[in-house]
């Protein structure tokens, strides 16, 4: 698996999940404490705003407190938590209408930086903000594969699609980014 996902997964975490599902308060305390930064990181990759990512992290943590029973261990806990977090972040974007603003922002960026020379100087934040403005599936594929450094196979499991579909989303993202950057 990837280096950072190890923060969220592993035998200890799986055991904490099982114990939490049995109602073990101490296990849940450890679980939620150990997962906060993982959830925050994934949320930030999608949202690009610290306070928004904190809000989404809070929602995910509260949902873990009430809905951990819906995790049935068919996937790894990490995959499940990726999915939960990205779904909550997606809903957050929809709720805030922030996506439209991101797209608008990306359009401004694209119009302001039209030549390759300028592209080469684009700050990191700008490039990722353009990634965040991509259609959801493309954005998620880029974030999981190129941000989280997951394999396409693992990204496919999280996105509930086939590996070839992830590759297709990445292909489209690549084309879109060439136009936008």
């Amino acid at each position: 698996m990837l280096k950072e996902a190890a923060v969220a997964d592993g035998p200890d975490v799986e055991e904490l999940v099982v114990r939490s599902q049995r109602g073990d308060q101490q296990a849940f305390n450890r679980l939620i404490t150990s997962q906060y930064h993982f959830i925050f990181r994934v949320a930030f990759r999608v949202l690009g705003h610290k306070s928004d990512a904190e809000d989404v992290t809070q929602t995910v943590c509260l949902r873990l407190a009430t809905s951990l029973s819906s995790f049935d261990h068919r996937a790894s806990f990490t995959s499940w938590l990726y999915r939960v977090t990205m779904n909550v972040a997606r809903d957050f974007l929809r709720a805030q209408g922030r996506r439209k603003r991101l797209v608008d922002g990306a359009a401004v960026l694209a119009s302001e930086h039209v030549n390759a020379e300028q592209d080469a100087q684009r700050p990191v934040e700008d490039i990722w903000s353009v990634v965040r403005s991509l259609p959801e599936k493309q954005r998620d594929a880029v974030i999981l594969v190129h941000g989280e450094e997951l394999s396409q196979e693992e990204a496919a499991r999280i996105m509930s699609c086939k590996k070839v579909t992830v590759a297709w989303h990445l292909h489209n993202a690549r084309k879109a980014l060439r136009d936008l950057l």
Partner: protein, 235 residues
């Protein structure tokens, strides 16, 4: 600070800079989650009480009798109402106005997070083949959910109800309509049941007022599919 962008923009994406969350926020969130967990410990998957239903807080027999009386009263009241007789079934594009039940049903505004019924009541699961759905009943409201293959719940709709009633799911079918997948769900309580239609979009299932009007009083899943097919050919 600045990093070059290669010809393939994905091959050399610079690492995203992840800030540190505010320590205060971290503590606050973790404490809130811990408190919530302590107040309502989670249950193991599948540990929901099968068939758990709350009808008037009484026994099944009393519940059945009570539901029958309430249903009869509601149907009579609506059928005898001049407004019901005079008004077309679907004067407005709101599925909530198409049938005799759940007239106060509310579809959550686009993008607004539901008020998290999942934080206060357990999901009452419903399965039909590979379809996994569920319903949550609180005092004055309920919500229907679709549960995907990874166990994630998506709220389909939220509505209001009387405190004495508990909404259940009675039937569901996944059908095709105009090249799209449509999830039709029959829910209600007692004899007061109706079908609602949810069209699959890139964001999941979203309620379709137009299709709900087409199918709300269908007798069964087969009739739902027939009506949807007719709706395509008729459109």
């Amino acid at each position: 600070m600045n990093q070059p962008v290669s010809h393939d923009p994905l091959s050399q994406l610079p690492p995203d800079r992840i800030p540190e969350p505010s320590p205060g926020h971290v503590q606050e969130t973790i404490a809130a989650a811990q408190q919530l967990f302590a107040r309502q410990p989670v249950r193991m998957p599948g540990s929901h009480k099968p068939g758990r239903r709350v009808f008037f807080g009484r026994t099944w027999m009393e519940a059945i009798l009570g539901a029958g009386l309430v249903s009869t009263a509601c149907v009579l009241a609506l059928v005898l109402s001049p407004a019901f007789l005079m008004t077309p079934l679907a004067p407005e594009p709101e599925p909530v106005q198409t049938g005799p039940i759940r007239t106060e049903m509310m579809v959550p505004p686009q993008g607004v997070q539901p008020l998290d019924l999942d934080m206060i009541v357990d999901l009452e699961p419903y399965t039909n083949g590979e379809l996994r759905l569920g319903v949550r009943n609180a005092d004055d409201r309920f919500a229907l959910y679709h549960v995907d293959e990874q166990g994630l719940e998506q709220q389909l709709l939220e509505g209001r109800k009387g405190a004495a009633e508990a909404v259940s799911i009675f039937d569901a079918v996944l059908a095709e309509w105009d090249g799209q997948q449509v999830l039709a769900v029959r829910s209600g309580f007692g004899d007061l049941q109706r079908w609602d239609a949810f069209v699959e979009t890139r964001f999941g299932f979203e309620v379709s007022a137009a299709l709900s009007r087409q199918i709300w009083d269908a007798a069964d899943a087969a009739e739902v599919e027939q009506r949807l097919a007719a709706a395509v050919s008729g459109s």
